[in-house]
Each structure stands twice: as C-alpha cells, then as structure tokens.
C-alpha cells in the first residue's frame, strides 16, 4: 500500500489562531499532523510498539474469531484459548496470497514470531497445557477485556448494537442456540426458562466476532508499518499517521458479521448482507470504548463510585489508554499490564535499546513500554480523528474560512475530551515522559 502525504497547513492566514488550551496540538492537526509531536524518537517508539503489538494481535483476532465461531456457547470454555489449527492457519483476509482483498503486503499466515512463542514461550518447549497453566502464553484476557468494554458501553454510534436487539438477530441466535444444544436437554431447558441468558451470551459472541474482524485488519497494518520503517520509508510521525488514515479508508467498508459453525452447518447470526461495515461498526466503537472509556474497575487502582469518583454517565468514562495512569499503578482502564507483557516478548531491538538508555533500563521496561504504547495510541487516535474530519468535514487545504472554522471546531471538540486532568495528552508532548 502506498502512503499519501498530508497537505501543508494553509489555514494560518485565513483564520485566527486557536485559543484552546491545546492550541499547539490543534494547529498541528490542522497542518495534517498528529497529536503526537513529530520527533525521530516518537516515530521510532510508535513503530516499534506497533510491531510488538501486531504479533500478539495476530493471535487475538484468530482466537476471538475461533471463540465467536467455534467455541460459541460452550458452558465450560476452559480451552477457548487453545486455538484450533484451522484458525491458527486461517488466512488473513487483507494480506497474503489467499486473502479476499489483498491490501497489505504481509503474508496471510500467523506471524513466525508468534508461532515460535506459542511453542516455546518464556519457559521453553513444553506441552501446551503447561504453558497455559504457567501463564506462559499470549494473554487473551486482554483481548476479552477490550471486547467486554465494547459490549458494556454499547451505543457508541453505528447500527450494530441496535441490531443485537432486533427480531432478525434474535431469530438467528435462537436457531444457533437450538442447534448448538440439540443434544443437551439441560441447556435447552434452561434456555426455555431463561431465554435472555443464552441470548446475551450470543450477543457477547457477536462482539467477539466484531473485535476479531477489527483486529484482523489492524495486525497486517502494523506489520507493514514496521516493515516500511525498517526500509526507511517513514520520515516522520505524520507519515505514520497518514498511513493509518489511508488504511482506514481502504478497509472502511469491509463487512462486520458473525457466523457460527455448528457441525457442518454455518449459522449466519449477523449476515454480511446486513451491511455492517468495519469503520462505523467496529473501528469507531473500539476507539471510543477502549481508548477513551473502558471501565474504572480494572487493574489495581480503585475508585469510589459512592464518592462520585466514577461518572454517572457511561459516556463520561475516561479510563482508557489515553487517560491511563500507566506509571503509578501498572494498570488502569483496560488492563494494559497484560498487553505490556505480551508486547514485551516481541519488542524490536531498537526499542529495547531506547528503554535500556532511560530510567531503570531493563528493570522498568514494562512501564516504558506502556508509555510508548500510550504514545502510539495517541497517534492511532489522531488517525481516526483525521479520518473522521476527512469523511465528515473539509480538506485541510480548503480555502474557505468557514470550512476551516468548521474543521477547527471539530478539532477543538476532540481536544476538549483531553481537558480533564487524567488525560495524558500534555505528557506525551514531551520526551521526558517515559
């Protein structure tokens, strides 16, 4: 895939400078830049972490789809993280020779570093069950936490969530439930008594599929960004952001669906024909739920809801990675400690070198890594903001001041979300934040 370079900022003469607290960031966005300052180290950090993120993500999306499509309603899903060979070998839809729509240059197979880690882990070669029990494996719990954040927040735009309450969905789910438990009278009896119980489980499975399909796109994007950087392709942070923006538009219309395979039969609980697309039904809700909101009761930091420390309105939640206090508690918002541990196994050497040179070196690699992740997610969020601006508003090089003012208002509204003290936007503006 090729990248396009954002136009140079042309707004300065046409509209007055912003007076927003984050005016510098807003001007940078108006110039086609990212919320993250354009420095060589920032570029190195975010690309390095994308690579380290992409490898476990290659497992997350496969296993999420495996759980959504195969494990489905297993009442005792003890082995849901023991992905089948079929799903481990499942070709990526957007990369490789067998892909349905080849957009990225990578292969369709699971990444070799992932396969090696699954075999050896940290402890060395041993049976898969021992790796699992020793927790020497990819932390699927992180992926599930992200899925649960999307399920729990709901109502973040799009039609996907509303569809889960529709009669068509219920009818499809009902068929799948009855087929799945056709030889299990106990579960069927329970289903008769409590029809909402299994239906809610199916809704959760639909979010498994939703997130799996979202990450199926993102994993090869990040791999390709890493490869381009290694080839000397990106010149700055805006290049990396533009690559993401272009990627978002390239796959924006790809379908989000939920198919379940029971025996030899495929049950289309959410058929592709419903027209749910990747950008509005997966990407935007994901960013909103995981980057911004999540929930306050994760990790080791505790909040007192009765003392008003937790907003009454879920839309005001601010416990995502863009606000996460990675530093003091090791985890907040989404449980990034699990992801950090996953990424730690796949860090490129140049990122390890950076960590060695700062703070406590290898001793506090996890914290440094978490903060790098935070930086990189500010860049991804910038890409989403620019993509939304591109889709809903005006080009950055528009010459109509009214249009530029509309763009300004949009960017300022986005920045308003980072006015609360927990936001890490001011922190990532400096390189000292490690």
């Amino acid at each position: 895939m090729t990248t396009t370079t954002a136009p140079e900022r042309a707004t300065a003469p046409l509209i007055p400078p912003s007076t927003h607290r984050y005016a510098d960031v807003i001007h940078r966005l108006e110039a086609g830049g990212s919320m993250l300052p354009d420095t060589p180290e920032n570029l190195k950090q975010i690309i390095g972490i994308y690579k380290a993120y992409a490898v476990p993500m290659d497992f997350y999306w496969r296993d999420l789809l495996y759980i959504a499509e195969k494990v489905f309603l297993n009442p005792l899903p003890a082995f849901k993280y023991f992905i089948s060979k079929e799903y481990l070998d499942r070709p990526n839809s957007y990369a490789g020779d067998q892909s349905q729509l080849r957009i990225w240059r990578g292969t369709d197979k699971a990444h070799p570093e992932l396969l090696e880690f699954m075999e050896k882990g940290e402890a060395g070669k041993m049976p898969k069950l021992l790796h699992h029990l020793w927790h020497d494996r990819v932390n699927m719990e992180f992926a599930e936490a992200c899925m649960q954040a999307m399920l729990w927040h709901q109502g973040m735009g799009g039609r996907f969530n509303d569809y889960l309450e529709s009669d068509a969905y219920k009818a499809n789910a009902d068929r799948a439930i009855k087929a799945y438990f056709k030889r299990n009278p106990l579960m069927l009896g329970l289903y008769k008594l409590f029809p909402e119980m299994l239906l809610e489980q199916v809704r959760q499975m639909s979010y498994y599929a939703n997130l799996g399909l979202f990450w199926e796109v993102m994993a090869p994007v990040f791999f390709e960004m890493s490869d381009i950087y290694d080839e000397g392709g990106f010149k700055g942070v805006p290049d990396a952001m533009d690559f993401l923006v272009n990627g978002i538009f390239a796959v924006a219309g790809r379908p989000i669906y939920h198919h379940v395979y029971i025996g030899d039969e495929c049950f289309e609980i959410i058929p592709k024909s419903e027209g749910f697309n990747w950008l509005y039904e997966a990407a935007l809700p994901y960013v909103e739920a995981v980057f911004y909101r999540t929930s306050p009761f994760r990790g080791t930091k505790s909040y007192n809801a009765q003392a008003g420390q937790v907003p009454a309105d879920q839309a005001d939640f601010h416990y995502g990675i863009l606000y996460a206090d990675v530093f003091p508690v090791g985890s907040a918002g989404i449980p990034p400690t699990l992801l950090m541990q996953d990424m730690l196994h796949f860090l490129p050497p140049y990122l390890k070198e950076i960590y060695k040179e700062h703070r406590r070196g290898e001793e506090d690699e996890l914290i440094q890594l978490g903060i790098t992740f935070q930086r990189s997610m500010y860049n991804v969020t910038s890409a989403v903001i620019q993509a939304l601006r591109c889709a809903l508003l005006y080009p950055l090089d528009d010459t109509d001041p009214k249009h530029l003012q509309a763009n300004r208002a949009f960017f300022e509204a986005q920045m308003d979300r980072f006015l609360r003290p927990e936001a890490r936007l001011p922190d990532v503006q400096t390189q000292d934040y490690r």
């Binding site: 206090d325 530093f327 003091p328 508690v329 703070r359 406590r360 001793e363």
Partner: protein
C-alpha cells in the same frame, strides 16, 4: 586484653586510615574491617567474659584505665560496635573526605566504647567528652543546609551535658569521704547524705537527660537528627543517645538509689511528658527525618518511665528498650536516608507512591513497613518485647504515667501509618521518579538491622538475656507491689520474688 583491644581498635583504625591515599577504596574497607573486628571481639567477650582490666594512669586525681564488662555494658558494647559497622556500611561509597569522615566515626566509637567499658567515673567522663568533638564535626562538615546551626546547638547542649557530668563526678570525689577514688565499686558504696545525693542526681539528670534526650532538654535533637548525614544520624540515635540511658542506670539508679527513689515520681512524669510530646510532634511533622527524631524522643520517654519505676521487670525493659530502640531508630534513619538519597527529599508531602513495583522503592518501603511496625510496638518485633516489659514493669509503680505512655504508644501507630500511607501509596509522580533502584550494597545495613529487629521479636532473650542478672539487683521496687527497696539495692532476685 580484649577489653583494651575493644577500646583501642577504633583508634588504631582511625590512625591507619590517615595513612591511606585520599579517595582510596581501601578507606571504607579498612573502616568496615575495624568496626567488624571490634564487633567480633565483643561477641567473643560475650562468650568468654574477660576479667576487669586495671591500669594505673593518673592515680593522684583518681584516674585509672579501669575497664570491665557486665550485664549492663556488654549489650551496649555490642550495640555500639554493630551500629558503627552499619554506619560505615550505610555511608555512600563516594563519600567526600572519606578518611576524615571514617576517622571521626571511629573516634566516636572509641568514645562510646570507653564510656561503656569504663569502671571509673573519671574515665567514663573523659570518654563521654571525647564523643562530643567528632560528632560535632561530623554534623558540621557533612550535614545538610542548616548544618552550622545544628552543630552549634548540638555542641552547646552536649557541652552543658559534659560540664554537668564533670561536676557530678567531681561532686562524688569531693563529697565522698573516700577521697578521689572514682572507681565504680567505690561510688556504689558511698556515704553521701540524701541532700548531697540530690545535688549530684540533679547534675546527673541534666547530663544524661540532654544526651538521651528528654523533654525539656531535647532542643538539639530534632535539628541535629534532621541535618546530620544519614550514617551520623544512625550513629547518634542508635548508639550515642543510649549513653544517656546507660548513664542514668549507672549513675542514677546504681550510685544514687535513695535520691532516685525520692525523685522517681517526677522522673516518671517527665518520661510520660516526653513520650506524649514526642509522639504528638511526630504526628505533626512534614519531614521524615524530623518525624523519626520526634519518634525517638517519644520512645526515650518510655525508657525514662521504666528507669523511674526501677522494678526488676522495668529495668529489664530498659535494657530491652535500649537495644530495640537502638536497632529500630538506626534502621529508620537508614531507610529515610536511602529514600532521601534516591528521591532527593525527605519531605513527606513531596513523596508518594514509593511502593510502586517498577519505579518506586518497593524493597526499601517494605523494610520501612517492618521498621514502622517495630517502632509502633507490633508483636513479633523487638519493639513489642521492649515496650511490653517497660509498661508491665512500670505499671505497679506509676500507673498514670504508664497509661500516658500507652496512649503515646498508640500515637506511634498513627504517625507510622500516616508516614507509610503518604509516602508509600498514592501516585508516583512520573516527572520526579527518575531515580535508580537501590543496590544490595545500599540495602545491606537495613537488611541486617531488620533481621535483628525480627529476631529480637521472636527471641526476646536476645534483648534481655545479657542483663537479667545485673539489672535485678539494681531494682528499687519489687515487680508485684509498690515496695521501695532502695535501702537494699543489692537484694537478690530470689529475695525479690519471695
């Protein structure tokens, strides 16, 4: 000869240090070797108590090199040697003017050993005075920003202490019909009138009250402890201040039992006031060093209460508290110093989140938790054993001051929890938390002290076993009734229990 060795080895070590080239890594090693050699010798003496050594020095004025060890001095000799070794260990490897620094530490140690080993009041006084010069220099040269003021105040108070002790010792000589015989054996059997004893006891209380210190003679302590470099604060609080307790036990209870009995109610009241004053001030402090300093003042109040009660049990409590407090306070200063070295501050409001596993000082804070628990008298640690003996032993004699001390012991938990909560928990500020973790070398003194505090808690004989047989005869009251037995200070333990 081992007694002479205990006394002189720091002098030999201090002189040898001056021969080494400046900045040599061997300076620290030699200082540590000296301190460890002394500690080893003291341990050998514990296993095989040496006979008293008497060498004539200036017989005309009654000064003899009269050295000996008994149950009162042996634990203090061991404590002094141990704290000195820990002081050397806790000193930064890159200590500036290291030869002078370690030389002064060893000179202080020599004064300590001389005081604890002395069996002659004049020799005791000389050794006592010897400590003042090196400790003042240590504070004045290597102290914090307000070191000059701290050193002057320390010097002034302790010079008064020294003068009062000199006057008391000379008073013994002049008033005692035996003439200028300052040996402890003679002083213990003086024929001073009660009025004469009162005068001397007043001087003794002034001298050792400053050294401990107790309220209202504590003016030097918070400033000195907060301005002294960490190793010096450890030495001053862990070993030097114990000289005050030892002096009161030796000069007050052993040599002036009648006057002590008469004044003991007032002394107990002063102890209670010290305890509550120290604890309340500790709660109000915003600086960890000052908090620990006031905490020490409070714990000295317990000691004074137990000395005033002077029952067999309370006197065991005195010895236990001397040892336990010496270890705990040195540990606390060591840990506060470590935190200060790493974070650059000991101000409580500026610190938080140090328990953070990745970027904080979790190991140091873990030890700090144990140290604070020990200071608060939590069971299983040395502080509990000592405080239990103090309170149980003092209750029969002075229930109200004991109750006040018990309340202040509760306050100990308040400032301990407050300190730990504010410094350990909360958000670690990323902008400030740019320090390295502690190395095993830096942790070593704290680890040794923590281990001893824990061992003392589960094996209390470590605290009381040395001195049980020597404190019982000094008791002025029985442990189960308020019976003054001052007239018969040599009463045996079996008679007391009967």
């Amino acid at each position: 000869m081992t007694l002479l060795f205990l006394f002189l080895i720091p002098l030999i070590g201090a002189c040898a240090l001056q021969v080494l080239p400046p900045g040599s890594t061997w300076v620290r090693r030699l200082a540590l070797a000296t301190a460890l050699a002394q500690l080893g010798t003291a341990l050998l003496d514990w296993r095989n108590p040496p006979a008293q050594l008497t060498l004539s020095w200036l017989p005309k004025i009654g000064l003899q090199l009269d050295l000996g060890l008994d149950g009162l001095s042996l634990p203090l000799v061991l404590l002094g040697a141990l704290i000195t070794a820990m002081t050397v260990l806790a000193t930064p490897i890159d200590q500036k003017r290291s030869r002078l620094f370690y030389g002064l530490v060893l000179a202080t140690n020599m004064g300590l050993m001389g005081s604890f080993l002395a069996r002659n009041a004049l020799l005791f006084m000389l050794a006592y005075e010897l400590i003042l010069i090196p400790t003042t220099l240590l504070v004045a040269i290597w102290g914090g920003e307000r070191r000059a003021g701290a050193a002057i105040r320390f010097l002034t108070y302790n010079a008064v202490s020294g003068l009062a002790l000199l006057a008391a010792v000379l008073g013994f000589g002049w008033l005692n019909p035996g003439g200028f015989d300052f040996s402890f054996a003679t002083l213990a059997q003086h024929n001073l009138s009660l009025e004469e004893q009162h005068w001397i006891l007043a001087l003794v209380l002034l001298a050792f009250g400053i050294k401990l210190p107790i309220v209202p003679l504590h003016g030097w302590q918070p400033l000195t402890y907060s301005q002294a470099p960490t190793p010096v604060a450890m030495l001053l609080s862990g070993a030097v201040s114990k000289l005050g307790a030892y002096g009161l036990l030796r000069f007050g209870i052993e040599f002036l039992p009648d006057a002590w009995s008469e004044w003991s109610a007032w002394i107990a009241a002063v102890g209670a006031v010290s305890a509550i004053y120290g604890a309340l001030n500790a709660i109000a402090q915003l600086d960890m060093r000052r908090l620990v300093a006031y905490s020490s003042l409070g714990h000295m109040g317990f000691l004074v209460l137990a000395l005033a009660a002077a029952t067999p049990l309370s006197l065991q409590g005195v010895m236990a508290q001397i040892l336990a407090h010496g270890l705990i306070i040195a540990l606390l200063f060591c840990l506060v110093g470590l935190i200060e070295t790493k974070t650059g501050t000991s101000e409580i409001p500026e610190l938080s989140g140090l328990l953070n596993a990745q970027r904080g000082l979790p190991f140091t804070m873990g030890l700090m938790l144990l140290a604070l628990m020990a200071a608060a008298g939590v069971p299983g640690q040395a502080g509990f054993v000592a405080e239990l003996l103090v309170f149980e032993g003092s209750w029969v004699a002075y229930p109200i001051p004991t109750l006040v001390c018990l309340v202040s012991s509760g306050f100990t938990a308040v400032y301990a929890v407050r300190l730990f909560n504010r410094v350990g928990f909360g958000r670690l500020d990323n902008a400030k938390a740019n320090w390295a973790s502690t190395s095993w070398g830096e942790r070593a003194p704290a680890l040794v002290l923590t281990a001893l505090v824990l061992v003392g808690g589960i094996w209390p004989t470590l605290l009381t076993g040395w001195s049980e047989s020597d404190t019982a005869p000094l008791a002025l009251r029985s442990s189960d009734a308020v019976t003054v037995i001052a007239a018969a200070p040599q009463t045996s333990t079996s008679e007391l229990s009967a």
